[in-house]
């Protein structure tokens, strides 16, 4: 058997060979972004047995709006120390898309390694007010719908169309929090019974507090390596055998909020259904969204979903999607899984989705 699995879309084989994340905190008052990143960047280099001078390409994901300043990614570069100057790029998206850019950059064969990182300090501002600014500035943002109310609309659509119930939302939350007990980086780690969770009052009907992600400060980093380089750096590289991302319209009224056509399309291009899935890490910050994405990916009940606790246990904006890739890859790097699915989302109510299949050899 070949040591490098076949890629589905004719891509040059690229693998995740190292992953690191910070402990997710409600408010990391001790560190700024650079101080948050520095230890995990060091850690991920160590895990991948590389130094920064050997890295071919660097790409990060973050948003200026969390710090309320124009160039949050600029000072963050000091966590790497790009001297001598490096080939480097940045996406104003979740860092999972930075991973996509790096994956594309490694296709041409001139570079073999990339560092990807993302960071978000959500504690610096009022998240609900900030995320309102992501909506259409002419027709939607002036109405000021907060993100929890929007998520409640989506949850209602899930219930009304028979895809899920409030009890299932609570089960997803209970499972996520319990799984997080095994994850030292997670933030909400507890063993709650579904019955107790359902006794919580509505925050915005039909959502109770447990359906919401925590507000988190955190960062994550991944090292990608192509071809033989990946075999050199990791015993069980997590090969990206299929990857795609799609966007839907921003107009909520023009979408069926209970389904995710963009996830389904990306999943079919990435080839999710073409083999057994051992583990899946889904970037679904609101509990009902797990049902939507799971359906769109066509995952059955045998798949272990968000064994890390997922975004309901830790949700650092801009790093959360990349953490899904890291957690899914780690299962393969550790030899716990041979085929995993990683999913990341961007924009309000799952507007944009990225799906990848990761495989061990």
């Amino acid at each position: 058997m070949s040591k490098i699995p076949q890629t589905r879309q004719g891509h040059r084989p690229v693998a995740i060979v190292g992953f690191s994340q910070s402990k997710s905190l409600r408010a990391d008052r001790a560190s700024n972004e650079v101080e948050m990143l520095l230890p995990i960047v060091h850690d991920v280099f160590e895990k991948a047995h590389l130094t920064k001078n050997e890295i071919g390409f660097i790409c990060s994901g973050s948003t200026d709006y969390l710090i309320g300043g124009p160039f949050s990614f600029v000072t963050a570069l000091d966590a790497i120390g790009v001297w001598p100057p490096k080939t480097e790029s940045h996406v104003e998206m979740d860092a999972a898309w930075a991973l996509y850019e790096a994956f594309v950059r490694l296709q041409e064969g001139d570079l073999d390694t990339a560092l990807v990182y993302g960071f978000g300090k959500s504690s610096l501002g009022n998240l609900s007010e900030i995320l309102n600014l992501q909506l259409d500035p002419y027709t939607m943002a002036p109405l000021h719908p907060d993100q929890v109310s929007l998520a409640a609309l989506q949850a209602r659509a899930v219930i009304d169309q028979g895809f899920g119930t409030e009890e299932e939302f609570a089960r997803i939350a209970a499972r996520s929090r319990k799984s997080a007990l095994e994850n030292p980086f997670a933030q909400v780690r507890r063993d709650d019974s579904v019955e107790v969770l359902l006794q919580e009052p509505y925050l915005v009907s039909p959502l109770r507090r447990h359906c919401l992600p925590p507000i988190s400060d955190g960062a994550s980093a991944i090292i990608l390596a192509a071809g033989d380089k990946a075999l050199e750096l990791a015993e069980h590289p997590a090969w990206i055998t299929g990857i795609d991302h799609r966007i839907e319209t921003h107009a909520f009224g023009a979408r069926n909020l209970a389904v995710s056509t963009s996830t389904a399309k990306a999943a079919s291009i990435a080839g999710v259904s073409e083999g057994h899935v051992d583990v899946a890490e889904l970037h679904t910050p609101f509990a009902p969204q797990e049902i939507i994405v799971k359906n769109a990916l066509g995952l059955n009940d045998s798949v272990s979903i968000n064994a890390s606790g997922g975004p309901l246990a830790a949700n650092p904006l801009m790093a959360g999607g990349l953490i899904r890739f890291g957690e899914a890859a780690q299962a393969i790097l550790d030899g716990r899984a041979t085929r995993a699915v990683a999913h990341a989302t961007s924009g309000p109510l799952l507007q944009q989705n990225l799906v990848a299949v990761l495989e061990g050899a």
Binding site: G68, D78, V82, V91, S346
Partner: protein, 391 residues
């Protein structure tokens, strides 16, 4: 092995201080539609959309690509958002080009914009940030001391910046899309305009513009089809590169940044260029403040260190009579929709080698440089495009 990449269509808006006749969606759509028309493509032919803009705070919209998805025909397709400060227009084009070079897509639409009238860039650049010392000076205030350092090091006479300001505005008269059309501009006018940030006068600074730029990038096959259907030849990407360095550290050469020199060396090596002044026919270089022309002439290897101002002074960089015309379109000094300004440089370089630059065409141009920089002159994006298909 990388696939060849061609610029098969370009489009831009008429840049103005205020486009209050269109929304942001309307603005980007206008440029994108023109690029599609130029390429002979329809929206359905586009595989993916890559969009870039400068900080979201300029318009007060977080990740505007989300609400622009429908206007740019991206629904059901991959849409990607780049932000690398002022260099973003160039970086965005490069990210899009790699999607073709890496064999991911056949045709990618890349778009960049800024609607400065919707906000106040000076304010957005000056807000105090947690854990950082506030600059409170905007971009001009940041770069003015670096320009002073250049003047001191090179011994350049005081009027070199003013020459650039006049030259670029006169060249803008030949570009119908340029924001500033100042037929009567003179050295005296520039000198008598308000001193904003010593040594920069008001007329040595870029304007605030609303505008958008778009390009359709395609594979070799896509280029063949486009040329057959439109009769217009593509521009071929001969080299492209990005480089970054930290904002501040002891010993950093802010006047002549290493990242800029490395980026240029990389892109010239890819394009087989050893003498940029002799081998390039023209260049579109990010010059938002007049003095950055002589400074970048040195950084990009068109002149030896300390000698760039002599090229400017001799008229070598003028469209009219110069041997290496810079910013024939009028450059950033004549149109500055910030996020799009870098892409406009890349786009104008492509127009020149396609022979489609109209009145500001450099006769017989075969090879051109497009350049963008951003942050504290620490992020660089460049490409060299040519009329001939690369080997």
């Amino acid at each position: 092995m990388a696939n060849r990449v061609a610029v098969i269509g370009v489009g831009q808006t008429h840049h103005k201080s205020k486009r209050d006749d269109v929304s942001i969606a309307g603005l980007v759509r206008e440029a994108a539609q023109r690029a599609l028309d130029d390429s002979g493509c329809t929206w359905a032919d586009i595989d993916a959309v890559v969009i870039g803009k400068a900080p979201d705070m300029f318009e007060g919209i977080m990740m505007p690509e989300q609400f622009l998805a429908a206007a740019l025909g991206a629904v059901g397709k991959p849409m990607f958002r780049v932000h690398t400060a002022g260099s973003v227009g160039g970086s965005t084009a490069i990210v899009a080009a790699h999607l073709v070079a890496g064999g991911i897509h056949e045709r990618v639409l890349t778009v960049a914009f800024e609607k400065q009238s919707d906000s106040d860039a000076m304010w957005a650049l000056s807000v105090p940030q947690p854990f950082s010392a506030p600059l409170l000076a905007g971009a001009g205030g940041y770069f003015a001391p670096i320009i002073r350092a250049y003047m001191r090091r090179s011994g350049a006479p005081n009027d070199v910046g003013m020459r650039v300001a006049v030259k670029d505005r006169l060249q803008a008269l030949k570009n119908p899309y340029a924001h500033l059309h100042m037929p009567d501009i003179t050295m005296k006018m520039v000198e008598e305009s308000v001193l904003l940030w010593d040594p920069l006068h008001y007329l040595e600074s870029c304007p605030s513009s609303d505008g958008a730029a778009a390009m359709v990038l395609g594979s070799e096959e896509a280029a063949k089809i486009a040329e057959a259907s439109t009769g217009r030849r593509p521009a071929w990407v001969h080299g492209m590169a990005m480089r970054s360095e930290p904002t501040m550290f002891a010993g950093r050469n802010q006047v002549n940044p290493q990242a800029g020199r490395d980026c240029a060396a990389d892109v010239y090596a890819q394009a087989g260029i050893t003498n940029p002044r002799a081998e390039l026919d023209c260049a579109e270089v990010y010059v938002p403040f007049s003095w950055y022309e002589p400074m970048w002439l040195e950084n990009l290897g068109f002149a030896a260190e300390g000698e760039g101002w002599k090229l400017t002074e001799s008229g070598a960089t003028a469209l009219d009579g110069g041997d290496i015309p810079w910013n024939c379109s009028g450059g950033v000094l004549s149109s500055n929709p910030i996020g799009a300004s870098g892409m406009l440089r890349f786009l104008e370089a492509a127009l020149q080698v396609r022979g489609l630059a109209g009145d500001h065409q450099v006769e017989g141009a075969r090879k051109a440089l497009g350049h963008a920089y951003g942050g504290g002159a620490q992020f660089f994006a460049m490409w060299v495009v040519g009329a001939d298909r690369p080997e």
